[in-house]
Symmetry: C2
DNA sequence: ACCTGAACACCGTTCAAGT
DNA sequence: ACCTGAACACCGTTCAAGT
């Protein structure tokens, strides 16, 4: 109260996500953010520790918006569904996937989700260690797919047909098929299901 | 020939990788690179298209140093081994993993490797499409694990024990076990094998 | 408590000029 | 062909000061 500009953390995070979605993660800078918020570049530093801290907040708040897995379910499908939701989040917000790259994801919301998923998986397969493995591996697969997908955001797929003009026609065709697959969400869904099924039986 | 400073692309790529390994990917800048090479900031721009192009080169050249999968093998283990090598590359050079984040990886070396892997997988399981799926999924898993690992490079694991002081002891212990697992290369190896086996039978 | 102002030490890149 | 010099339009962040 007695706020000069009315800044608060939720508002800052919202504005940051809006910029990242609109202009891409590269264009999310502390200075642009301050302009968007109508304040001086240094005003935001009073509320967040810096750019790194801000990105951690943006990621964890986004994960926090996913519904927590129901701990009463005894169906492995709940695990698949949670990661499908996370994947959808990354696909809908490519900037989020890009921001998550090379960043420790262990905010409170992420930790809570990981614990709930491990508990659920542990009850199904009888081993917390095995369930922990699954959760980590599924996380890797989801992040990898989401980042790959984000990187291909708005890329002309046709261009890839002309990258290796010297190679035989069937090589070009095979390469094009590989690239086309990588933007296929069905493929992620299938490989995730395959992984989860292999772990939970 | 008649070179003033003797710059060439391989030398630039080597110097870039050296800086990234030594000081981290954040500290790899065009200006630092030029100092390391003993030239003006703009000299490198004559040889590479810019920072993005340089990073693409660094990644593809690194992948090019991995042994190509033997196309005569009929054993699915060759696929697992190739991705284990890629994973080791990312673990040994955390900066590479970080640089690969959010970047299209489709340089000539990467494309060649993907084609060889898909061919091999296709012969084993009888379907090029299915093999293509496997290669993409394995790539996601490997990148996800490598980036996760790179992000935890030089992080004090003990710190994570104190992030949620309000939670019950068993929650803390479970979270610590989850985090410990994520830096375990054996876990990556097992989940990769699980995925490949599920696809190639 | 919350924000401003000015400054520091950097960036990537363009463009024109040198040899 | 290969590189330099100067400049432009930015960055993240510190630090002291205002209200």
């Amino acid at each position: 109260m007695a706020r000069v500009a009315g800044l608060d953390v939720p508002g800052i995070v919202r504005a940051a996500l809006a910029i990242a979605d609109r202009d891409g993660i590269d264009r999310l800078t502390m200075r642009r953010l301050s302009i968007e918020l109508g304040v001086t570049p240094m005003a935001t530093y009073y509320h967040v520790s810096g750019k790194d801290g801000l990105l951690d907040l943006v990621i964890d708040e986004s994960i926090g918006q996913l519904p927590v897995v129901d701990p009463e379910t005894d169906d492995g499908k709940a695990v698949v569904e949670w990661f499908l939701r996370l994947h959808k989040l990354l696909v809908d917000h490519p900037a989020l996937a890009a921001a998550a790259a090379g960043r420790r994801i262990e905010g409170p919301h992420a930790a809570r989700a990981a614990i709930a998923l491990t508990r659920l998986g542990g009850r199904i397969c009888g081993s917390d260690d095995r369930a922990g493995e699954l959760v980590i591996a599924a996380f890797w697969l989801t992040l990898g797919s989401g980042q790959h997908r984000a990187s291909r955001h708005a890329v002309d797929l046709d261009r890839s047909l002309r990258t290796e003009p010297a190679s035989p026609d069937d090589e070009v065709a095979l390469q094009a098929r590989i690239l086309a697959k990588s933007v296929d969400s069905e493929l992620f869904s299938r490989s995730l299901t395959t992984l989860v099924t292999a772990y939970l039986g």
